[in-house]
């Protein structure tokens, strides 16, 4: 269960990071 906590954290971090990178690219292209 402790591992699951770390795994959930990593998953959430990865999703947030990829979304922000996509936002970065979008802002660069759109503005």
């Amino acid at each position: 269960m402790r591992r699951l906590l770390a795994e959930r954290l990593v998953f959430a971090t990865t999703v947030i990071v990829i979304l922000i990178c996509a936002l970065f690219a979008y802002l660069r292209v759109a503005t």
């Binding site: 402790r2 990593v10 990071v17 922000i20 990178c21 970065f24 690219a25 292209v29 503005t31």
Partner: protein, 439 residues
């Protein structure tokens, strides 16, 4: 002090800020001409990948206020998995660029590629080597100390080479302010490493301990009693652990994590660690002479006794008894009569570490000890096999979800118990576990 949940939220926010803010800062001020979406996306993930790699030094720096709300084992697992994420991001960067413009594939020719691309290759190859060595250290038969030194070296090369590549490419970091920000960040990351490997060991070096006794215990285990030498020592909470360096100085990468087994109420700073012979460094514990100077980095860990009103269910397997023993001894010293049930799995009757002391403590505390033996002696009327749902339900009073559960033992046992507690509908917040094989 904020509750653990709030502190966790604060640290998640701080972590994401450190990873994402420097990337978003690249969008400020004067900008170079925009390229297509995927090229910009690939640049962003490379910067984020580098930031994650740099912050890895902070995750393993053993900052107590960072690790406390999580537990060291969670932080180490997070660190390991994040290295895979960083590798994925860093490798995706060139792959996306090759798909967008296949002509860039010529950059893969290391000897003919421009210098700036060679730095990128060096960074990526170092990161791949680092991850491969970490995932398959045991299979590759790499000694822990050799692996650890190489791990640090490869991490530094990956970060420095990645940074040189980004500055050399000069697209976003052509801007002097943004360049200064990212160079400053790199210095900060390497500063974390300097702190862990140089500054912190200096502090530990000034606070040595002296071994006062090496005591044989049941179950091929030895207890090291250690007294602080010319300093007051530290206070720990029962269930916590320390990194012990027996041979060498704190500068050598030889520290191993062991739980304290003594009571937290000992007034003179003396601490004890009980260590089972598992064939590695632990096989030489009995050779440690009394009077030897050793070093302890600690205390660490969030695996500690909770609300006095709740029944405490301690579930130990083998040498996983050590943090539980610290809890029980501390409760005895405090004359704390909270109800405690210890489910204790061992190989056989003769190898039950602390067997006699636990029997004695049962009379003075509200403590019930249930031994579960894999190889019980003839005529054994107690529990047999490994601790499972049926055994727990036989000995614990319902409602199960109201108790506090503490679990420590070998990984297969921990997995089985965590599954069993799930079946008993015990909420996650009610169980606390610490894996002693997290490094």
């Amino acid at each position: 002090m904020l509750p653990y949940v709030a502190r966790r939220a604060v640290w998640i926010t701080v972590y994401l800020l450190f990873v994402l803010a420097p990337v978003l800062a690249l969008l400020m001020g004067d900008l170079p001409p925009a390229r297509d979406f995927w090229t910009e996306f690939s640049s962003a993930i490379a910067y984020v990948g580098l930031a994650i790699m740099g912050l890895q030094f902070g995750l393993t720096a053993r900052f107590r206020y960072v690790t406390e709300p999580w537990g060291e084992d969670v932080i180490y697992h997070f660190h390991r998995l994040l290295s895979l994420v960083a590798l994925g991001l860093v490798i995706s960067h060139p792959i996306i660029l090759f798909i967008v413009d296949p002509a860039r594939l010529r950059l893969l020719n290391f000897f003919q590629a421009p210098v700036v691309a060679r730095w990128a290759a060096l960074s990526t190859y170092s990161l791949i080597a680092l991850v491969v060595m970490s995932l398959w250290r045991v299979q590759l038969r790499i000694r822990y100390e050799i692996w650890h030194s190489t791990h640090i070296l490869l991490a530094v090369v990956a970060i420095v080479a990645g940074m040189i590549h980004m500055i050399g490419w000069g697209y976003y970091l052509g801007d002097p302010e943004k360049r200064a920000l990212w160079i400053g960040l790199s210095i900060f990351w390497l500063g974390l490493l300097f702190y862990v490997r140089i500054v912190k060991p200096l502090f530990i070096l000034r606070r040595p301990y002296v071994v006062t006794e090496v005591r044989k215990e049941r179950g091929d285990s030895w207890t090291l009693a250690m007294q602080p030498h010319r300093h007051p020592g530290f206070r720990f909470i029962p269930g916590q652990f320390g990194w012990l360096t027996i041979w060498g100085t704190p500068f050598k990468i030889t520290g191993h994590p062991f739980s304290f087994s003594s009571s937290a109420e000992v007034g003179d700073g003396r601490v004890e660690m009980t260590i089972r012979n598992l064939g590695d460094l632990t096989s030489k514990i009995h050779e440690v002479p009394a009077g030897r100077r050793v070093y302890i980095d600690g205390p660490y860990g969030a695996f500690t006794i909770g609300n006095p009103a709740d029944m405490h269910v301690l579930i130990a397997g083998g040498v996983g008894i050590t943090p539980m023993m610290s809890m029980i001894r501390t409760l005895a010293d405090r004359n704390d009569k909270r109800p405690v049930i210890l489910l204790y799995g061992s190989g056989d009757w003769e190898s039950i570490t602390f067997r006699e002391e636990l029997e004695a403590l049962e009379t003075g505390l509200d403590l019930k000890v249930v031994h579960v033996l894999v190889n019980p002696p003839a005529g054994w009327k107690g529990e047999k096999g490994i601790i499972n749902t049926e055994i727990m339900m036989r000995h614990l009073p319902p409602p199960y979800r109201d108790h506090e559960y503490f679990i420590c033992g070998p990984n297969p046992m921990m997995d089985a118990i965590e599954k069993a507690l799930g079946e008993m509908h015990v909420p996650l917040a009610k169980y606390h576990s610490e894996r002693y094989s997290f490094v």
